[in-house]
Assembly symmetry: C2
Amino acid sequence: MAIRTEFDQSLRDLQAKLLHMGTLVEEAIHKSTEALVNQDIALADAVIDGDDELDRLQLEIEDSCMKLIAMQQPMAKDLRKISAAWRISVELERMADNAVDIAKSCRRIAGQLYIKPLIDIPLMSEICQQMVKGGLDSYIKDDKDMAIKMSEMDHKVDALYKQVFRELLAIMLEDPKTIAQATHLLFIARHLERFGDHATNIAESVVYLVTGERAYLNE
Amino acid sequence: MAIRTEFDQSLRDLQAKLLHMGTLVEEAIHKSTEALVNQDIALADAVIDGDDELDRLQLEIEDSCMKLIAMQQPMAKDLRKISAAWRISVELERMADNAVDIAKSCRRIAGQLYIKPLIDIPLMSEICQQMVKGGLDSYIKDDKDMAIKMSEMDHKVDALYKQVFRELLAIMLEDPKTIAQATHLLFIARHLERFGDHATNIAESVVYLVTGERAYLNE
Protein backbone atom coordinates (compact mmCIF):
# COMPACT_ATOMS: atom_id res chain seq x y z
CA MET A 1 0.00 0.00 0.00
CA ALA A 2 1.28 3.50 -0.72
CA ILE A 3 2.41 5.28 2.43
CA ARG A 4 -0.24 7.98 2.12
CA THR A 5 -3.02 5.44 1.66
CA GLU A 6 -1.75 3.45 4.61
CA PHE A 7 -1.66 6.59 6.72
CA ASP A 8 -5.20 7.53 5.71
CA GLN A 9 -6.46 4.06 6.54
CA SER A 10 -4.78 4.07 9.96
CA LEU A 11 -6.18 7.52 10.63
CA ARG A 12 -9.67 6.34 9.71
CA ASP A 13 -9.35 3.41 12.13
CA LEU A 14 -8.18 5.77 14.84
CA GLN A 15 -11.08 8.13 14.20
CA ALA A 16 -13.59 5.30 14.27
CA LYS A 17 -12.31 4.32 17.72
CA LEU A 18 -12.51 7.90 18.91
CA LEU A 19 -16.07 8.27 17.63
CA HIS A 20 -17.03 5.04 19.37
CA MET A 21 -15.53 6.35 22.59
CA GLY A 22 -17.41 9.63 22.17
CA THR A 23 -20.70 7.79 21.75
CA LEU A 24 -20.05 5.74 24.90
CA VAL A 25 -19.27 8.89 26.89
CA GLU A 26 -22.42 10.60 25.60
CA GLU A 27 -24.41 7.54 26.70
CA ALA A 28 -22.66 7.45 30.08
CA ILE A 29 -23.55 11.03 30.97
CA HIS A 30 -27.09 10.48 29.70
CA LYS A 31 -27.53 7.30 31.72
CA SER A 32 -26.03 8.75 34.89
CA THR A 33 -28.54 11.59 34.93
CA GLU A 34 -31.39 9.24 33.94
CA ALA A 35 -30.38 7.08 36.89
CA LEU A 36 -30.52 10.15 39.12
CA VAL A 37 -33.92 11.33 37.94
CA ASN A 38 -35.51 7.87 38.09
CA GLN A 39 -33.56 6.69 41.13
CA ASP A 40 -32.48 3.74 39.03
CA ILE A 41 -29.60 2.03 40.84
CA ALA A 42 -29.16 -0.65 38.17
CA LEU A 43 -28.58 2.04 35.57
CA ALA A 44 -26.12 3.85 37.86
CA ASP A 45 -24.25 0.56 38.27
CA ALA A 46 -24.15 0.10 34.51
CA VAL A 47 -22.42 3.48 34.17
CA ILE A 48 -19.90 2.56 36.87
CA ASP A 49 -19.21 -0.86 35.32
CA GLY A 50 -18.91 0.60 31.83
CA ASP A 51 -15.95 2.76 32.82
CA ASP A 52 -13.35 -0.01 32.41
CA GLU A 53 -14.25 -0.32 28.72
CA LEU A 54 -13.72 3.42 28.31
CA ASP A 55 -10.35 3.31 30.07
CA ARG A 56 -9.35 0.44 27.78
CA LEU A 57 -10.45 2.33 24.68
CA GLN A 58 -8.48 5.39 25.73
CA LEU A 59 -5.31 3.32 26.07
CA GLU A 60 -5.92 1.72 22.68
CA ILE A 61 -6.29 5.14 21.09
CA GLU A 62 -3.14 6.32 22.82
CA ASP A 63 -1.20 3.33 21.49
CA SER A 64 -2.56 3.84 17.97
CA CYS A 65 -1.57 7.51 18.06
CA MET A 66 2.00 6.73 19.09
CA LYS A 67 2.38 4.00 16.51
CA LEU A 68 1.04 6.28 13.79
CA ILE A 69 3.45 9.07 14.73
CA ALA A 70 6.43 6.71 14.95
CA MET A 71 5.71 4.74 11.77
CA GLN A 72 4.48 7.51 9.49
CA GLN A 73 6.30 10.55 10.86
CA PRO A 74 3.44 12.82 9.88
CA MET A 75 4.07 16.56 9.63
CA ALA A 76 2.06 19.67 10.33
CA LYS A 77 -1.67 19.07 10.08
CA ASP A 78 -1.46 15.27 9.92
CA LEU A 79 0.52 15.34 13.15
CA ARG A 80 -1.99 17.71 14.71
CA LYS A 81 -4.85 15.44 13.66
CA ILE A 82 -3.24 12.60 15.62
CA SER A 83 -2.26 14.63 18.67
CA ALA A 84 -5.80 16.04 18.76
CA ALA A 85 -7.19 12.48 18.79
CA TRP A 86 -4.95 11.65 21.73
CA ARG A 87 -5.91 14.79 23.63
CA ILE A 88 -9.63 14.30 22.91
CA SER A 89 -9.42 10.70 24.15
CA VAL A 90 -7.90 11.94 27.42
CA GLU A 91 -10.72 14.47 27.80
CA LEU A 92 -13.32 11.79 27.03
CA GLU A 93 -11.83 9.57 29.72
CA ARG A 94 -12.20 12.40 32.27
CA MET A 95 -15.77 13.00 31.11
CA ALA A 96 -16.51 9.32 31.67
CA ASP A 97 -15.11 9.75 35.18
CA ASN A 98 -17.53 12.63 35.72
CA ALA A 99 -20.39 10.34 34.67
CA VAL A 100 -19.15 7.66 37.10
CA ASP A 101 -18.96 10.22 39.92
CA ILE A 102 -22.54 11.26 39.20
CA ALA A 103 -23.65 7.62 39.20
CA LYS A 104 -21.95 7.09 42.56
CA SER A 105 -23.59 10.18 44.10
CA CYS A 106 -26.88 9.04 42.66
CA ARG A 107 -26.53 5.68 44.45
CA ARG A 108 -25.99 7.50 47.75
CA ILE A 109 -29.24 9.45 47.60
CA ALA A 110 -31.39 6.81 45.87
CA GLY A 111 -34.59 6.07 47.76
CA GLN A 112 -34.73 9.52 49.33
CA LEU A 113 -37.45 12.03 48.57
CA TYR A 114 -35.69 14.72 46.53
CA ILE A 115 -35.44 18.11 48.21
CA LYS A 116 -36.00 19.92 44.91
CA PRO A 117 -37.43 19.15 41.48
CA LEU A 118 -34.66 17.90 39.20
CA ILE A 119 -35.09 20.06 36.13
CA ASP A 120 -31.90 22.10 35.80
CA ILE A 121 -29.53 19.18 36.41
CA PRO A 122 -31.01 17.06 33.56
CA LEU A 123 -30.92 20.19 31.39
CA MET A 124 -27.20 20.61 32.13
CA SER A 125 -26.74 16.98 31.18
CA GLU A 126 -28.57 17.42 27.87
CA ILE A 127 -26.36 20.34 26.91
CA CYS A 128 -23.30 18.31 27.91
CA GLN A 129 -24.42 15.48 25.63
CA GLN A 130 -24.78 17.91 22.73
CA MET A 131 -21.32 19.25 23.50
CA VAL A 132 -19.63 15.82 23.26
CA LYS A 133 -21.42 15.13 20.01
CA GLY A 134 -20.54 18.54 18.58
CA GLY A 135 -16.94 18.12 19.69
CA LEU A 136 -16.49 14.81 17.89
CA ASP A 137 -18.31 16.07 14.78
CA SER A 138 -16.13 19.16 14.59
CA TYR A 139 -13.01 17.00 14.97
CA ILE A 140 -13.99 14.66 12.17
CA LYS A 141 -15.00 17.54 9.90
CA ASP A 142 -12.01 19.78 10.79
CA ASP A 143 -14.61 22.44 11.52
CA LYS A 144 -13.23 25.21 13.71
CA ASP A 145 -16.45 27.25 13.76
CA MET A 146 -18.48 24.25 14.82
CA ALA A 147 -16.02 23.68 17.67
CA ILE A 148 -16.22 27.29 18.84
CA LYS A 149 -20.01 27.21 18.68
CA MET A 150 -19.98 24.06 20.78
CA SER A 151 -17.70 25.65 23.35
CA GLU A 152 -20.12 28.55 23.71
CA MET A 153 -22.74 26.13 25.05
CA ASP A 154 -20.55 25.92 28.13
CA HIS A 155 -21.76 29.39 29.21
CA LYS A 156 -25.23 27.92 29.57
CA VAL A 157 -23.88 24.99 31.60
CA ASP A 158 -21.98 27.40 33.87
CA ALA A 159 -25.04 29.61 34.32
CA LEU A 160 -27.18 26.60 35.23
CA TYR A 161 -24.51 25.44 37.67
CA LYS A 162 -24.52 28.81 39.45
CA GLN A 163 -28.30 28.72 39.59
CA VAL A 164 -28.33 25.20 41.10
CA PHE A 165 -25.61 26.21 43.55
CA ARG A 166 -27.57 29.22 44.79
CA GLU A 167 -30.82 27.28 44.98
CA LEU A 168 -29.27 24.43 46.98
CA LEU A 169 -27.60 26.88 49.35
CA ALA A 170 -30.98 28.53 50.00
CA ILE A 171 -32.65 25.15 50.57
CA MET A 172 -29.95 24.12 53.06
CA LEU A 173 -30.25 27.41 54.91
CA GLU A 174 -34.00 27.04 55.19
CA ASP A 175 -33.94 23.42 56.31
CA PRO A 176 -30.69 21.93 57.64
CA LYS A 177 -32.18 18.41 57.32
CA THR A 178 -31.62 18.77 53.59
CA ILE A 179 -27.88 19.38 53.91
CA ALA A 180 -26.64 15.83 53.29
CA GLN A 181 -28.63 15.37 50.09
CA ALA A 182 -27.98 18.94 48.99
CA THR A 183 -24.21 18.42 49.13
CA HIS A 184 -24.58 15.36 46.90
CA LEU A 185 -26.69 17.31 44.39
CA LEU A 186 -24.13 20.10 44.58
CA PHE A 187 -21.38 17.67 43.63
CA ILE A 188 -23.47 16.24 40.80
CA ALA A 189 -24.01 19.73 39.36
CA ARG A 190 -20.30 20.38 39.77
CA HIS A 191 -19.42 17.21 37.83
CA LEU A 192 -21.64 18.36 34.99
CA GLU A 193 -20.01 21.78 35.07
CA ARG A 194 -16.63 20.04 34.80
CA PHE A 195 -17.91 17.87 31.98
CA GLY A 196 -18.66 21.09 30.08
CA ASP A 197 -15.11 22.30 30.76
CA HIS A 198 -13.68 19.08 29.28
CA ALA A 199 -15.89 19.54 26.22
CA THR A 200 -14.48 23.06 25.91
CA ASN A 201 -10.99 21.56 25.99
CA ILE A 202 -12.02 19.35 23.07
CA ALA A 203 -13.12 22.46 21.18
CA GLU A 204 -9.70 24.02 21.87
CA SER A 205 -7.99 20.92 20.48
CA VAL A 206 -10.07 21.16 17.30
CA VAL A 207 -9.24 24.86 16.84
CA TYR A 208 -5.54 24.02 17.23
CA LEU A 209 -5.89 21.14 14.81
CA VAL A 210 -7.44 23.39 12.15
CA THR A 211 -5.44 26.57 12.64
CA GLY A 212 -2.16 25.44 14.20
CA GLU A 213 -2.68 28.16 16.82
CA ARG A 214 -3.51 27.51 20.45
CA ALA A 215 -6.88 28.89 21.47
CA TYR A 216 -8.18 29.55 24.94
CA LEU A 217 -11.93 29.46 24.71
CA ASN A 218 -14.29 30.78 27.39
CA GLU A 219 -11.59 32.43 29.48
CA MET B 1 25.72 13.26 16.77
CA ALA B 2 24.96 9.55 16.89
CA ILE B 3 21.23 8.85 16.85
CA ARG B 4 21.26 7.30 20.30
CA THR B 5 23.19 10.21 21.81
CA GLU B 6 20.83 12.65 20.16
CA PHE B 7 17.86 10.74 21.51
CA ASP B 8 19.32 10.71 25.02
CA GLN B 9 19.98 14.44 24.89
CA SER B 10 16.44 15.21 23.69
CA LEU B 11 15.05 12.95 26.39
CA ARG B 12 17.09 14.73 29.03
CA ASP B 13 15.75 18.10 27.83
CA LEU B 14 12.22 16.74 27.94
CA GLN B 15 12.71 15.41 31.46
CA ALA B 16 14.18 18.70 32.64
CA LYS B 17 11.03 20.47 31.42
CA LEU B 18 8.82 17.91 33.13
CA LEU B 19 10.71 18.25 36.42
CA HIS B 20 10.39 22.03 36.21
CA MET B 21 6.66 21.66 35.64
CA GLY B 22 6.43 19.29 38.63
CA THR B 23 8.19 21.79 40.87
CA LEU B 24 5.82 24.57 39.79
CA VAL B 25 2.80 22.39 40.51
CA GLU B 26 4.17 21.44 43.92
CA GLU B 27 4.62 25.14 44.65
CA ALA B 28 1.16 25.99 43.35
CA ILE B 29 -0.62 23.56 45.65
CA HIS B 30 1.57 24.67 48.56
CA LYS B 31 0.85 28.35 47.91
CA SER B 32 -2.88 27.83 47.42
CA THR B 33 -3.24 26.24 50.84
CA GLU B 34 -0.90 28.81 52.43
CA ALA B 35 -3.13 31.49 50.94
CA LEU B 36 -6.13 29.76 52.48
CA VAL B 37 -4.63 29.40 55.95
CA ASN B 38 -3.26 32.96 56.07
CA GLN B 39 -6.14 34.53 54.12
CA ASP B 40 -3.51 35.88 51.76
CA ILE B 41 -5.30 37.13 48.64
CA ALA B 42 -2.10 38.25 46.91
CA LEU B 43 -0.71 34.73 47.19
CA ALA B 44 -3.98 33.27 45.87
CA ASP B 45 -3.74 35.65 42.91
CA ALA B 46 -0.16 34.53 42.27
CA VAL B 47 -1.37 30.93 41.97
CA ILE B 48 -4.15 31.95 39.58
CA ASP B 49 -1.78 34.07 37.45
CA GLY B 50 0.86 31.33 37.39
CA ASP B 51 -1.44 28.90 35.63
CA ASP B 52 -0.77 30.27 32.13
CA GLU B 53 2.91 29.40 32.47
CA LEU B 54 1.94 25.83 33.41
CA ASP B 55 -0.43 25.51 30.46
CA ARG B 56 2.36 26.76 28.20
CA LEU B 57 4.85 24.28 29.65
CA GLN B 58 2.43 21.42 29.13
CA LEU B 59 2.04 22.29 25.45
CA GLU B 60 5.82 22.57 25.07
CA ILE B 61 6.25 19.12 26.58
CA GLU B 62 3.53 17.72 24.33
CA ASP B 63 5.27 19.16 21.25
CA SER B 64 8.65 17.79 22.36
CA CYS B 65 7.14 14.34 22.89
CA MET B 66 5.60 14.26 19.43
CA LYS B 67 8.78 15.47 17.77
CA LEU B 68 10.83 12.87 19.63
CA ILE B 69 8.50 10.07 18.61
CA ALA B 70 8.37 11.21 14.97
CA MET B 71 12.09 11.89 14.55
CA GLN B 72 13.57 9.01 16.52
CA GLN B 73 10.89 6.35 16.17
CA PRO B 74 11.72 4.93 19.59
CA MET B 75 10.56 1.41 20.44
CA ALA B 76 9.38 -0.33 23.58
CA LYS B 77 10.70 1.30 26.73
CA ASP B 78 12.03 4.45 25.03
CA LEU B 79 8.59 5.00 23.57
CA ARG B 80 6.97 4.39 26.95
CA LYS B 81 9.35 6.87 28.56
CA ILE B 82 8.11 9.55 26.18
CA SER B 83 4.43 8.67 26.37
CA ALA B 84 4.72 8.65 30.17
CA ALA B 85 6.18 12.18 30.06
CA TRP B 86 3.24 13.30 27.94
CA ARG B 87 0.73 11.68 30.22
CA ILE B 88 2.38 13.03 33.38
CA SER B 89 2.38 16.54 31.91
CA VAL B 90 -1.37 16.25 31.33
CA GLU B 91 -1.89 15.16 34.95
CA LEU B 92 0.30 18.00 36.20
CA GLU B 93 -1.78 20.48 34.22
CA ARG B 94 -4.94 19.16 35.94
CA MET B 95 -3.24 19.36 39.31
CA ALA B 96 -2.37 22.98 38.60
CA ASP B 97 -6.06 23.53 37.83
CA ASN B 98 -6.92 22.06 41.24
CA ALA B 99 -4.53 24.56 42.85
CA VAL B 100 -6.19 27.40 40.91
CA ASP B 101 -9.64 26.24 42.01
CA ILE B 102 -8.47 26.23 45.62
CA ALA B 103 -7.02 29.72 45.21
CA LYS B 104 -10.33 30.94 43.78
CA SER B 105 -12.36 29.42 46.65
CA CYS B 106 -9.89 30.91 49.08
CA ARG B 107 -10.51 34.39 47.63
CA ARG B 108 -14.25 33.92 48.16
CA ILE B 109 -13.98 33.26 51.89
CA ALA B 110 -11.03 35.56 52.64
CA GLY B 111 -11.75 37.99 55.47
CA GLN B 112 -14.28 35.64 57.10
CA LEU B 113 -13.76 34.10 60.51
CA TYR B 114 -13.18 30.42 59.74
CA ILE B 115 -15.87 28.06 61.01
CA LYS B 116 -13.31 25.39 61.89
CA PRO B 117 -9.59 25.19 62.56
CA LEU B 118 -7.76 24.47 59.30
CA ILE B 119 -5.53 21.56 60.24
CA ASP B 120 -6.64 18.63 58.10
CA ILE B 121 -6.82 20.60 54.85
CA PRO B 122 -3.18 21.79 55.08
CA LEU B 123 -2.22 18.22 56.01
CA MET B 124 -3.93 16.94 52.84
CA SER B 125 -1.99 19.55 50.91
CA GLU B 126 1.35 18.47 52.44
CA ILE B 127 0.75 14.86 51.46
CA CYS B 128 -0.25 16.01 47.97
CA GLN B 129 3.03 17.91 47.65
CA GLN B 130 4.98 14.80 48.64
CA MET B 131 3.01 12.82 46.08
CA VAL B 132 3.95 15.13 43.18
CA LYS B 133 7.58 15.06 44.22
CA GLY B 134 7.56 11.27 44.61
CA GLY B 135 5.83 10.86 41.27
CA LEU B 136 8.44 12.86 39.38
CA ASP B 137 11.30 11.17 41.25
CA SER B 138 9.95 7.72 40.44
CA TYR B 139 9.57 8.70 36.78
CA ILE B 140 13.14 9.96 36.48
CA LYS B 141 14.52 6.91 38.31
CA ASP B 142 12.27 4.37 36.55
CA ASP B 143 11.35 3.21 40.03
CA LYS B 144 8.11 1.23 40.08
CA ASP B 145 8.17 0.54 43.82
CA MET B 146 8.65 4.21 44.61
CA ALA B 147 5.65 4.99 42.41
CA ILE B 148 3.46 2.40 44.13
CA LYS B 149 4.53 3.65 47.55
CA MET B 150 3.63 7.17 46.49
CA SER B 151 0.20 6.06 45.27
CA GLU B 152 -0.49 4.51 48.67
CA MET B 153 -0.30 7.96 50.25
CA ASP B 154 -3.57 8.64 48.46
CA HIS B 155 -5.39 6.47 51.04
CA LYS B 156 -4.41 9.01 53.67
CA VAL B 157 -5.65 11.88 51.48
CA ASP B 158 -8.96 10.07 50.92
CA ALA B 159 -9.35 9.35 54.64
CA LEU B 160 -8.71 13.00 55.51
CA TYR B 161 -11.20 14.08 52.84
CA LYS B 162 -13.90 11.87 54.34
CA GLN B 163 -13.13 13.25 57.78
CA VAL B 164 -13.35 16.87 56.57
CA PHE B 165 -16.57 16.07 54.71
CA ARG B 166 -18.21 14.60 57.83
CA GLU B 167 -17.00 17.42 60.05
CA LEU B 168 -18.27 20.12 57.71
CA LEU B 169 -21.63 18.39 57.38
CA ALA B 170 -21.95 18.33 61.19
CA ILE B 171 -20.99 22.02 61.45
CA MET B 172 -23.57 22.98 58.81
CA LEU B 173 -26.27 20.97 60.56
CA GLU B 174 -25.52 22.62 63.86
CA ASP B 175 -25.39 26.16 62.51
CA PRO B 176 -26.89 26.92 59.09
CA LYS B 177 -25.10 30.29 59.04
CA THR B 178 -21.93 28.33 58.30
CA ILE B 179 -23.30 26.72 55.13
CA ALA B 180 -21.88 29.13 52.56
CA GLN B 181 -18.33 28.93 53.90
CA ALA B 182 -18.63 25.22 54.57
CA THR B 183 -19.48 24.47 50.95
CA HIS B 184 -16.36 26.38 49.85
CA LEU B 185 -14.20 24.42 52.30
CA LEU B 186 -15.88 21.24 51.07
CA PHE B 187 -14.89 22.06 47.51
CA ILE B 188 -11.34 22.87 48.58
CA ALA B 189 -11.01 19.49 50.28
CA ARG B 190 -12.49 17.87 47.21
CA HIS B 191 -9.89 19.55 44.96
CA LEU B 192 -7.14 18.18 47.16
CA GLU B 193 -8.70 14.73 47.02
CA ARG B 194 -8.71 15.02 43.21
CA PHE B 195 -5.12 16.21 43.27
CA GLY B 196 -4.24 12.95 45.02
CA ASP B 197 -6.09 11.01 42.31
CA HIS B 198 -4.03 12.72 39.61
CA ALA B 199 -0.86 11.84 41.51
CA THR B 200 -2.05 8.23 41.56
CA ASN B 201 -2.48 8.42 37.78
CA ILE B 202 1.16 9.53 37.58
CA ALA B 203 2.14 6.46 39.62
CA GLU B 204 0.19 4.28 37.17
CA SER B 205 2.07 5.84 34.26
CA VAL B 206 5.39 5.06 35.95
CA VAL B 207 4.41 1.44 36.57
CA TYR B 208 3.45 1.11 32.91
CA LEU B 209 6.69 2.75 31.86
CA VAL B 210 8.75 0.28 33.91
CA THR B 211 6.78 -2.93 33.37
CA GLY B 212 4.94 -2.41 30.08
CA GLU B 213 1.79 -3.56 31.89
CA ARG B 214 -1.14 -1.30 32.72
CA ALA B 215 -1.70 -1.00 36.45
CA TYR B 216 -4.80 0.22 38.24
CA LEU B 217 -3.65 1.44 41.62
CA ASN B 218 -5.96 2.12 44.56
CA GLU B 219 -9.07 0.58 42.98
